[in-house]
Every structure is written in structure tokens, then in C-alpha cells.
């Protein structure tokens, strides 16, 4: 509870002291990671995944993935050369390059595959093959049973901070076809391992000060100290997606709730080193991300957005 009040206060404060806060950023101590500089590891040399990385050894568990444990979606080269296959390919293009193929519906700098990693295939990064067979399902967020197409609309509205394509638009249809193709062979209405995000424990209330420190250690190399991601030098779009700011997801997105963000971070981040952060680290980092400024919740008016504590804090 105390943490919640603190976080709310922090969110409110940033409107008032944002400039000063930004100026004092490098006051927080900790190694500033520079992508260009190679330096020796501070820790002992290790043969495999870090063993002493975690602060809490009891919680740290790196799951061993056995072949066949997770559903394997079909290969790209197996997309049929039919009208259906064309739709699947179009869906994949939209999924991996939303900025270009569905740009008019998108209000920020993200692609679908910014969160649904590896073209929507990666387990515990809410893979399409685990989501599609579960829809239509009841969602607490909308308090109604939603079809997969309507769920896609919500992604456009919140995570892409844009405008939802209509249910019969070619974009929604192509994305549905792509998800349908990815989940070919997955049993319908069955929870598959790897669905959604990882499950986390929460030993204590998260701490955004610790989160900032961890963010700079683990995340800032790609997403930038300012969380704005990194753009390509020679072409449009982001190489590393922004985590906050006007080109990121908005306040109503699932990733804007600390829990979803932490669960995602635990299993996937830093990219290629999933499961290396402790559960508590993930909570801390995501609290830090959550208190940053980002596009407002389109479900509420501007007054509510300014006054009300943002959702997703617990």
C-alpha cells in the first residue's frame, strides 16, 4: 500500500519536477553502460549462464527447455501458395513491420513484434500460437467476451496508441490469418505451455529507485538511458523500441501494468538472457518504467488522465 501511494506520488510529481528530475539523472550511481566501449565483466568468468548474478538465489530458476516442450509453429517456407497463404504473408508483414504495412492505424513507433518477439513465435512473449486458439475468451479489461479480431483492435488502440482497424478490414483479417496459420496444429481452447508471460513471485513491494539502477545496468544499453529506444541511422523506425515517451505504448496498454511488464521482462529481457533477472529485479525495473511519462489512456478524458493515478500500478 505504501509503495502504491509512493508510486502515485511519483507519477504526479513528475509532472511538476520533470525538468529537474531529468537533469539529475546521472546523480544515481552505477556503471553507465556505453554500447561502444568494451570492458571486462565485473563478475567472475562463467562457463554458462550467470550463477552469481541474482541477489536472491532461492528464487532464481532458469528453466531448462527440452525439445518438444513448447509448441513449434510451422516454418515460413511452409506458407501455402494460395490466397490464404497470401493473406498469411500479408499478416506477417504487418506483424513484423507494422509501421509500414499498417502505418495509418499506428500512433507510435512500435511494431507488433516489438513485444511479441520473434514474429510472435517466442514462448512467454505472448506468442500468437498460444493466444489464437484461446479466443474468443472473457477479458477482465473489457469485462466482456472478445473474439480474436476484437483483441487485435485493442492492441492497435492501446499498445500501438492508434486507431483500431474495423473488424472486416484487410489488416485485421490478415493478422488473424497469420495467427491462425502460426497456431496450426495447436489444440483449440487449451492452455499451452509458454502462453502469455512467465509467472512471477513477489517477495516484497517493488522499489523504483532500485529499478532505475537495474534499468541502467541491464536495459539502457539498448533502450537508452532516457528510455526512448534507438532509431536506425539510415532508415526510418526503431532498432530498439522506446519504453516510454510519446513513441511508446500508452497508459492503457497491457505493458503499462507493472505486472505484465515484469512477467515479460523476466522471461525475455535482456534479450538473449531471459530468466537471468530475479523476479524482484523485474518488478523493480518495471516500476521504474511505469512511473515514466507516456501517452495518456484513451479510455479516459484528459482531466481524468491528469488527476487520476494511472492504472496498472499493482
Amino acid at each position: 500500500m505504501r509503495a502504491r501511494i509512493l508510486m502515485t506520488a511519483a507519477v504526479l510529481l513528475q509532472f511538476l519536477v520533470a525538468p529537474a528530475f531529468a537533469a539529475n539523472k546521472d546523480v544515481v550511481d552505477g556503471p553507465l553502460l556505453d554500447g561502444g566501449v568494451v570492458r571486462p565483466a565485473e563478475h567472475q568468468a562463467r562457463a554458462s549462464v550467470p550463477a552469481t548474478f541474482s541477489h536472491d538465489k532461492a528464487i532464481r530458476q532458469i528453466p531448462q527447455i527440452n525439445p518438444g516442450e513448447y509448441f513449434i509453429p510451422p516454418q515460413i517456407q511452409d506458407i501455402p501458395t494460395s490466397k490464404y497463404g497470401q493473406m498469411v504473408e500479408q499478416g506477417r508483414r504487418i506483424f513484423t513491420d507494422t509501421q509500414r504495412y499498417a502505418g495509418r492505424y499506428v500512433g507510435n513507433g512500435l511494431n507488433c513484434s516489438s513485444c511479441h518477439l520473434q514474429e510472435g513465435r517466442k514462448a512467454y512473449a505472448s506468442p500468437m500460437w498460444a493466444a489464437y486458439p484461446m479466443y474468443p475468451q472473457f477479458r477482465n479489461k473489457t469485462r466482456s467476451v472478445m473474439t480474436f479480431e476484437e483483441r487485435l483492435q485493442d492492441c492497435f488502440k492501446y499498445s500501438m496508441n492508434g486507431i483500431a482497424p474495423t473488424l472486416d478490414s484487410p489488416e485485421i483479417k490478415a493478422l488473424s490469418a497469420y495467427a491462425h496459420w502460426l497456431s496450426k496444429g495447436a489444440p483449440i481452447n487449451q492452455e499451452l505451455p509458454g502462453r502469455g508471460f512467465a509467472r512471477l513471485s513477489k517477495p516484497r513491494d517493488p522499489n523504483s529507485i532500485n529499478g532505475e539502477k537495474l534499468y541502467r545496468e541491464n536495459c539502457a544499453i539498448c533502450h537508452g538511458v532516457d528510455g526512448q529506444g534507438q532509431k536506425f541511422a539510415k532508415r526510418a523506425g526503431y532498432m530498439f523500441p522506446p519504453l516510454w515517451g510519446r513513441n511508446s505504448f500508452n497508459r492503457a496498454a497491457g505493458m503499462s501494468t507493472i505486472k505484465d511488464c515484469a512477467q515479460f521482462t523476466k522471461a525475455n529481457m535482456p534479450l538473449g538472457k531471459g530468466w537471468t533477472l530475479t523476479d524482484m529485479d523485474a518488478w523493480d525495473i518495471c516500476t521504474y518504467i511505469w512511473i515514466q511519462d507516456r501517452p495518456s489512456d484513451p479510455r479516459f478524458g484528459w482531466l481524468m488522465n491528469a488527476i487520476m493515478p494511472p492504472v496498472g500500478g499493482n
Binding site: P136, V145, T147, K173, H180, G185, P187, I188
Partner: protein, 318 residues
């Protein structure tokens, strides 16, 4: 003054003619029905025993084509009704099921004829080879020749409303479409997504010769007329609205844009499902012939075509 009188007279005359025509029409029906069973159709007498010309056979249904033996586990078994969860999701499943088996009540405003979904998708959409929902849902989105594009399951449902139910399609975000989708998804629990499962769609049939409409009439009277009526208009309940046996022709039946209006689709349905409880008793050719007879009957127009096209264009679905 004079002109007004003329108009009144004309109106009266017109009304009279209309009435006379209606009366004549209703009176004509009697002889038409009578002449059906006059000469070249076998007289069906329930009370007389006749000795068969055929050699005696051991079993009752004679000259069966191959009746497939169903072994357990061959077809998908959808979850039982008792397993519908008690949640919002379960409520939608129940609503979808209600719409499915009693479309006349739960989605009446979208339906233009007397049919329910379950009239063709037999046994609440569960029966294999009667276009079961559990075999259809995992295949969508799918490319359809009929609409020349990839359609989602919801759009496919809209087509059912437009053609088979001769009505107006509910919007894609309407509760009706959503509930039906939820029901279909629940029925297809555990089926691998995107795979063709046994029992999908209708039975496959072979055509050995061009079907004759005259045989179809005889077969219809023997096998179908008992339930669907001599006039093919189905049979209504005596004490409540709705059809006990669905109409196969006429204003309360599917329209000319429906899949069932295609002779091949109709025949593959008939082959595997009709007469109800005795599937696979008709031969492939008999099924085709009876469907030609059904196809020839009058029914609502194809809404995809205008009035003149419906009247003058050569029919293609045969």
C-alpha cells in the same frame, strides 16, 4: 367528379380480380396435389400387404450402399453440455447454443425464413458430415470461392444469415455473431487448429450419370415426404410457432444463394444424414436425383442478384 368515379371503379375491379385470382389459386391446389399420385407414381397404401417381386433378403434395408462403420474415436466428440463453465465465457457459449438451436427465437430479427441453424447442422452442430461446427471453426480464416476472398469465421456466419437464413447479416461485433463464434470455439475444444478433421463438411459422393428429376420426385415421395410434406413446405407445430420439420422449398426455406441450393452440396448432405436416423441408405445417384427435384422448386431469390437477373439469368448452381 367523373374522373374520381372512374378511379374508384377501377380500384374495385382490380380488387375483385385479385380476389378471384387468389380463390382460383387456392382451389387449384387440390387437383394438382391429387394428380401427383395418379398414374406413374407407386400407390402407397399403408394397410395392404403386397408380396415383393424381389428375391427375399435376410435383412430389411435392401441394396444398401456401403454404410460406414463408425468406430469409437474416429470422429471428434465435442465437450458435453454439462462442461460449459459457469463464467461470462460460459454464458456466451450458452447464448450461442440457444441461437444455434432456436434461431427463430434468439436471433429472429436477422432471420427471414423459418429455419434454425440446427436444421442443417444437425444435433446442435455436432454431427459429423452435417457440416459440424467443430470441423469448420478451426479452418477459418479460409479462402472461399464463393466470396473470392479470405473470410474469417464471423464473416462466414454472416453469409449463413444472408443466404441459408434468407435474412440480414448481424454486424461483426454483434452479440449474436460473437456468441455463435464462442459456441463454435467451445465445440472445437482440443481440435488441432487449422487441420482437416474426419467428418468435416459433408459426405463425398460420386456421380455416375446425369441425375434425372423424374426419379427424384419418386424418391422424394418415398423417403422424404413423410416428414417434409408432399408439398415440401415442411411441417409446422400445431400448438406453437415454428417448424417441426424444416421446409425444403417455398418462402420459408433457404434462398437461391445458399449452399444447400447447390445440387452437389444438397446431395452430399442427404447422403450422409437423410432420412434422419437411416443415413447412407440412398445411393449417390438417388441423393443427386432427389436434390435435383428439390432444386427445381420455387424458393426465395438470390440476394446477390437483382430481380431481373433472378428471373432471366440461366441458373448456374445446378
Amino acid at each position: 367528379m367523373r374522373g374520381r368515379k372512374w378511379v374508384v371503379t377501377l380500384l374495385l375491379l382490380g380488387a375483385g380480380l385479385l380476389g378471384a385470382w387468389a380463390m382460383a389459386d387456392s382451389q387449384q391446389k387440390q387437383p394438382v396435389d391429387g394428380s401427383m399420385s395418379m398414374d406413374d407414381l407407386p400407390e402407397l397404401d399403408t394397410l395392404e400387404t403386397h408380396v415383393s417381386m424381389q428375391a427375399p433378403k435376410e435383412t430389411l434395408p435392401n441394396e444398401l450402399t456401403v454404410v460406414p462403420v463408425v468406430s469409437p474415436g474416429e470422429y471428434h466428440v465435442p465437450p458435453p453440455i454439462e462442461d460449459i463453465p459457469e463464467s461470462k465465457y460460459g454464458d456466451m457459449v450458452n447464448f450461442g447454443r440457444n441461437i444455434f438451436i432456436n434461431t427463430q427465437k434468439y436471433a429472429k430479427r436477422y432471420v427471414g425464413n423459418g429455419l434454425n441453424c440446427a436444421n442443417c447442422h444437425l444435433q446442435e452442430g455436432r454431427k459429423p458430415f452435417a457440416a459440424p461446427l467443430w470441423a469448420a471453426y478451426p479452418m477459418y480464416p479460409m479462402y472461399r470461392e464463393k466470396s473470392h476472398q479470405v473470410v474469417t469465421f464471423q464473416e462466414r456466419l454472416q453469409d449463413c444469415f444472408k443466404y441459408s437464413l434468407n435474412g440480414i447479416a448481424p454486424t461483426l461485433d454483434s452479440d449474436e455473431i460473437k456468441a455463435l463464434t464462442v459456441y463454435a470455439q467451445w465445440l472445437s475444444t482440443d481440435i488441432p487448429n487449422g487441420t482437416i478433421v474426419a467428418g468435416r463438411g459433408f459426405a463425398r459422393i460420386d456421380k455416375s450419370h446425369d441425375p434425372s428429376p423424374f426419379n427424384g420426385k419418386v424418391i422424394y415421395q418415398q423417403y422424404c415426404a413423410m416428414c417434409h410434406g408432399e408439398d415440401m413446405l415442411g411441417k409446422k407445430f400445431a400448438d406453437r410457432p415454428g417448424y417441426m420439420f424444416p421446409p425444403l422449398a417455398g418462402a420459408d426455406s433457404y434462398n437461391k444463394g445458399a449452399g444447400m441450393h447447390k445440387i452437389k452440396t444438397c446431395a452430399s448432405f442427404v447422403k450422409a444424414n437423410m432420412p434422419l436416423g437411416r443415413p447412407y441408405t440412398l445411393t449417390d445417384d438417388q441423393a443427386l436425383e432427389v436434390c435435383v427435384h428439390i432444386w427445381q422448386q420455387d424458393r426465395p431469390w438470390n440476394p446477390k442478384k437483382s430481380m431481373f437477373m433472378n428471373m432471366f439469368m440461366p441458373v448456374t448452381e445446378g
